[in-house]
């Protein structure tokens, strides 16, 4: 990182460089005009910014572009706005100093200056610059960490909503979703249906074919059920073991039963052998319940009713869909 000295007087450049060099500042660059400095800094057209400058010492009174104009140009440039600028001035007018600070200079040194004064001001400007750079680096780091945290949170949120075996929504997400849909239906006085589906004689299937084969069946059923719903607001979730629940917005008995029947057919036509079932194939029993929710009823009641309809389907011989008709 270099210190840039801009002054039209060779005598000033010489003594400034010597004072700084003797104090251990190795990397010094000098320009004898604002125009030359603009080329070095990369402010002129078609030049890329020089990112290696950590401090500028600049004369105010220079022929051509003066120090105040140059400071303004540098400070208005995104790549250079944080480079500290110390003005070198032999003019004691208050106006010059006010202008310097107004355009962004951080300090000034009156010419003629003594070695001690130059070194003290340069060292304090550099210290401030390093502290600022460190703070900016820490802020950037913090921002990155926060972004990583946010990404991780989103991923966790997704993970905590997804059933790991089937990749469809899990029980936790179902509870949350059903509650929200319930409230929405109450507001809109809309009907809401759920289908509860259960794989028939699944325990026997597991006992015969093993748990891994059982898991495969659960995955296939989940995929088929998910493929059967097409509206964005409808949800298929794994409720537990071999049980699934489908939530259907704005759907009554007829629509619910139609979909349940279609799901039953789709599973049966997978033709997965199941020796211990009277049908010889994996099948699904489904219970459907519908409601126009009110604040007095509850999601638990709706699920309970679908469960009763499911029980009825099992009683009637399985591989069928039944609607909860208010009995039982």
């Amino acid at each position: 990182m270099s210190i840039l000295i801009i002054d039209d007087s060779r005598d000033i450049i010489n003594i400034t460089e010597t004072f700084l060099k003797n104090a251990g500042y190795k990397d010094l660059v000098s320009c004898s005009s604002a125009e030359e400095a603009m080329t070095f800094v990369g402010l002129s057209e078609n030049l890329s910014p020089n990112n290696d400058i950590e401090l500028i010492l600049m004369d105010i009174m220079m022929p051509g572009i003066n120090g105040i104009e140059l400071t303004m140009t540098i400070k208005n440039h995104e790549a250079f706005k944080d480079i500290p600028i110390i003005m070198l001035t032999a003019n004691e007018t208050v106006q010059d100093l006010q202008n310097s600070f107004a355009v962004g200079a951080m300090d000034y040194i009156k010419k003629p200056f003594k070695k001690e004064e130059l070194l003290a001001r340069v060292s304090s400007a550099l210290r401030l610059k390093h502290e600022m750079d460190q703070r900016k680096a820490r802020e950037k780091e913090l921002l990155e960490t926060m972004q990583q945290l946010e990404t991780a949170n989103k991923m966790l949120q997704t993970l905590s909503a997804i059933d790991s075996l089937t990749n469809i929504a899990n029980r936790r997400f179902l509870d949350h979703y059903l509650y929200e849909e319930w409230r929405r239906a109450v507001r809109n006085e809309a009907s809401l249906s759920i289908i509860m589906a259960d794989i028939d004689h699944f325990k026997l299937y597991n006992d015969t074919h093993g748990h891994q084969a059982g898991d495969e069946v659960i995955k296939k059923v989940a995929a088929v059920l998910k493929a059967a719903v097409h509206r964005p607001g409808d949800l298929v979730a794994r409720y537990g073991g071999e049980e699934f629940i489908v939530v259907l917005q704005d759907t009554g008995k007829e629509g619910g039963m139609q979909l349940a029947e279609k799901m039953r057919q789709n599973i049966f036509s997978l033709s997965i052998p199941h020796d211990k079932s009277s049908y010889g194939l994996v099948s699904l029993s489904l219970g459907v319940s519908s409601v126009v929710p009110t604040m007095e009823s509850s999601t638990e009641k709706l699920i309970n009713e679908a469960d009763k309809a499911l029980y009825k389907a099992k009683e009637k011989g399985r591989n069928r869909a039944e609607y909860y008709d208010g009995k039982g």
């Binding site: 004072f19 032999a90 010419k111 003629p112 003594k114 070695k115």
Partner: protein
């Protein structure tokens, strides 16, 4: 023999001082030329630079002469400027530098 003016200068800048003094000898020529042409802007600029550099090199007298020169140029006081050129010439002639 006119009396010497002894100035103590920081040994750190010993290498720079002969060049600096040479430049001041050159200034005497430039000042006389500028005065002959009534170039008060040029005179003021030289005064300004002398003021800004002198003490830094250890020559308070040069800064002082520069300051006077700058204000004399501003007010167009040729007589005063002539006097200052002589004064600077005399100063440089009698100057003896000690590095310590």
């Amino acid at each position: 023999m006119p009396e010497k003016i002894i100035v103590k200068v920081d040994p750190d800048i010993a290498d720079l001082v002969p060049g600096y003094i040479d430049n001041r000898h050159r200034d005497i020529g430039l000042l006389s030329e500028a005065l002959a042409k009534n170039d008060y802007d040029g005179l003021r600029k030289i005064g300004h630079d002398l003021k800004g550099s002198g003490s830094g090199y250890g020559f308070d007298k040069i800064t002082e002469m520069g300051r006077t020169l700058e204000s004399a140029a501003k007010s167009g006081d040729g007589t005063e400027i002539k006097k200052l050129i002589d004064e600077l010439t005399d100063y440089l002639d009698r100057l003896e530098i000690v590095y310590e």
